[in-house]
Amino acid sequence: MQIAVDDVDPADGFRSVLALRALADQLESEFVDQALGTGWPWARIGEALNVTRQAVQKKHGPRLRGPTDRERSQHA
């Protein structure tokens, strides 16, 4: 599909950009969960997403691990 940027109000265009980002983030989380569930190592997930193992683990690890003791005490 051709996107006629000139015909779209920037306010609507930016909303589309945010919605695409939210959708992409959600899909990434779901596929990471699925890959880990089927035994993919972090390094392979990172490679598939074209980022380092450290980057993907930093982004998704905490969600899967739950809060650390330090985070828990900060909210206590």
Partner: protein
Amino acid sequence: MPERFARGTREKVRRAAELAEAENASMVEVEHLLTALVDPITDLLGQRLETAGLSAPAIRAARDREFHSALALVGVDTERPSPSAAPRQRRGRTTSFGLSAKLALERTLSIAAESGQRRITTTHLATAIIRADVGIMPRLLDELGTNGNDLEQLLLGSQ
């Protein structure tokens, strides 16, 4: 300058954080503040908003429609419900306010100051929320069959 948030207003801000947390959002956003005004309904303002079609389920459905139309504009067709702007990566409590909510709270302070009232009321908060002229809010109000100007007229009568 108004001196402080009225208890009801503070309660709405706290409720917005609770709503964000319940849907796994990492940040409290302006749509959570809007929803908090009517979920639960605790004052005349909430009643008026609900009568105008802004019930909590209606806002949720409008958020999904707004999400779908924003994606359709760039050729993406999905049935997925609108995800939270930034899915939470960490378990625990949602405590931080996203930019959209921060700006709404900033506007709340100036609207309250202009009004000359001593307390920052839920009407000041609601006015600040619906005055956002970019971002999700204008499109969301459109999906709800209204707009900022009409709602402001409605709010004038609920002080």
